[in-house]
């Protein structure tokens, strides 16, 4: 009897131990995890996995409910982002274009897909640790799922910081908080439910409006091909950039307009250079968490856009000078 009890106890202990081993091995995070690698895993998950969920997006005192569905199809990203409160706006992304639709106002904006930029040579993000301090935070629970905090703190005042709760299973950002260099919250997203993998609702049928926008027309334009450096006919050169930023690519959305993309590996800034501006302006403007800075240089309009401190926008604007 005692033997059987011991055997049973041993069996229970063994099962418990095995369950513990399974639990530990099944856990996505380990003590020795490299937080920079976790960030890379998150980036990979956001771009290359299928997921769907509802989340809230807060900027200042404003709170919005959103729905997102992201799928991979033939190696290309498809995404549908829908505002669940207010006007039923949505952004639809395909391999070729991104469109923002406002059914109520019957307006649509269409631009070329940014997928082309991904074809550039891999960006050097080995310097991320020199620009940001990556640390693993405590375990948390978000949207009913276990997660681990990843804290990304800037080492200077040229960029913002992030506190992200990474889903243990999928590495998706269940919660993401953007903070300024003083620790003030600028914005945050928080999933309330999340599905992934085969459970994600197909969104291909929702792309009809975008496909219509892409139909052949007399004025259809090709998506500009990006280049790693400034085009040969460029009359401008890149002088000293703010610490950590590098040129990721140059696009020509239309004649007379250059789009320079700069990045530090984590955040990016776009500089638009319009040779003959029709609406020149100087100064700052803002939408949501994105600032824009406009200035004039040698008759051209320089407009810089990004989720970075205004000081950084000005430094990048000053970095593009005539040859």
């Amino acid at each position: 009897m005692l033997k059987k009890t011991c055997q049973r106890s041993g069996s229970r202990l063994g099962s418990a131990a095995w369950a513990l081993v399974l639990l530990i091995s099944a856990s996505a995070f380990a003590a020795g995890d490299d937080p920079v690698q976790l960030y890379r895993d998150m980036r990979q998950a956001v771009h290359n996995s299928d997921y769907e969920g509802r989340f809230v997006y807060q900027v200042g005192e404003r709170l919005d409910a959103m729905y997102v569905a992201h799928r991979m199809q033939d190696g290309h990203e498809l995404e549908r982002l829908v505002a669940l409160n207010g006007e039923p706006k949505q952004v639809i992304r395909s391999a070729r274009a991104v469109a923002c639709l406002d059914p109520h106002r019957r307006k649509i904006s269409v631009v070329g897909s940014g997928a082309a930029i991904a074809t550039l040579s891999a960006l050097d993000d080995s310097r991320l640790s020199a620009l940001y301090r990556f640390t693993l935070g405590r375990k948390v629970r978000v949207a009913g799922r276990p997660a681990r905090q990843l804290i990304i703190s800037p080492r200077d005042d040229l960029r913002y910081g992030y506190r992200i709760a990474l889903d243990e299973q999928t590495r998706l950002p269940l919660r993401s908080i953007m903070l300024d260099h003083q620790g003030n919250v600028l914005s945050q997203t928080l999933f309330v439910d999340l599905k992934h993998g085969a459970h994600v609702t197909p969104i291909e049928r929702d792309l009809s409006a975008l496909q219509l926008a892409e139909r052949p027309g007399a004025d259809a334009l090709p998506v500009p091909a990006p280049s790693n450096g400034a085009p040969a006919d460029d009359h401008w050169r890149i002088a000293a950039l703010p610490t950590g930023f590098q040129l990721a690519g140059v696009l020509t959305p239309e004649k007379g307009l250059r789009h320079y993309l700069f990045t530090d590996g984590l955040t990016s800034v776009s500089l638009y250079l319009e040779e003959t501006p029709s609406q020149p302006f100087e100064g700052f403007s803002r939408i949501s968490t994105v600032d824009v800075y406009g200035t004039q240089r040698d008759g051209a309009q320089v407009t810089v856009v990004g989720e970075v401190p205004r000081k950084t926008l000005q430094l990048i604007a000053n970095a593009v000078v005539p040859k």
Partner: protein, 216 residues
């Protein structure tokens, strides 16, 4: 750049403003004439209308050329905010029926020329165009905390507008709707390419989608 593309960005913005009812009175006759005579301008206008109609589930009205003129006139009478939203202050109103008739004629001509290409078109999709009709968030210029200095620097040079705006704004705080459209387009493009490099949120376009539903 497509060599056939001759409608420049300024024209696009003006057409967009025209569709939004934001063209000054002095320019109205010019753009009505443009729609009536310029096939490329009509094509752009038609694309905008077609997409809008599809979103509203009314694509048949646009594609059926015989009903377009009446539909546009009717819509202008019944729902002026659809094709002729509230005008910016200072823009004079044309008699609505006259404008409606001109628009209807232009759109009817457009539909006749464009619809056959759209109906049953099975050609592969072309790559997306640059935004000929970008969003035009309604003008929002709260009085507090804003400093605006207009610098007129010569007859041939465009006016440079200086802006200094409060940091808690949710929308572009700029004067010109055309400028707002331009910045909104820049934001959409920026989000798309920046989102390819990094990912810190569920979508790169969150800031864009909340950017244009706040009223002044």
């Amino acid at each position: 750049m497509n060599q056939k593309h001759t409608v420049d960005e300024r024209t696009n913005e003006a057409l967009s403003a025209f569709a939004d009812g934001e063209v000054p009175e002095r320019d109205l006759s010019h753009w009505i004439a443009t729609l009536a005579t310029d096939g490329q301008a009509r094509a752009r206008f038609s694309r905008y209308r077609l997409i809008g109609a599809q979103l509203a589930g009314e694509e048949d009205r646009v594609i059926d050329a015989s009903s377009v003129a009446g539909a546009v006139s009717q819509r202008l009478r019944d729902e002026p905010t659809v094709l002729a939203p509230r005008r910016a202050r200072g823009h004079a109103q044309l008699p609505r029926l006259a404008l409606g008739a001109a628009l209807a004629a232009g759109v009817a001509a457009m539909a006749v020329s464009v619809a056959p290409r759209l109906i049953g078109n099975t050609a592969p999709m072309l790559q997306a165009e640059a935004p000929s009709f970008a969003f035009a968030p309604r003008l929002s210029v709260p009085a507090d905390g804003i400093t605006m200095v207009s610098l007129t620097s010569g007859i041939q040079r465009p006016e440079v507008v200086r802006h200094a705006f409060p940091a808690n704004g949710q929308r572009w705080k700029v004067l010109s709707p055309a400028m707002q459209r331009k910045l909104s387009r820049y934001l959409l493009e920026h989000n798309e390419v920046a989102g390819q490099i990094s990912a810190k949120q569920p979508s790169a376009h969150l800031n864009y989608i909340i950017s244009y539903d706040q009223q002044p």
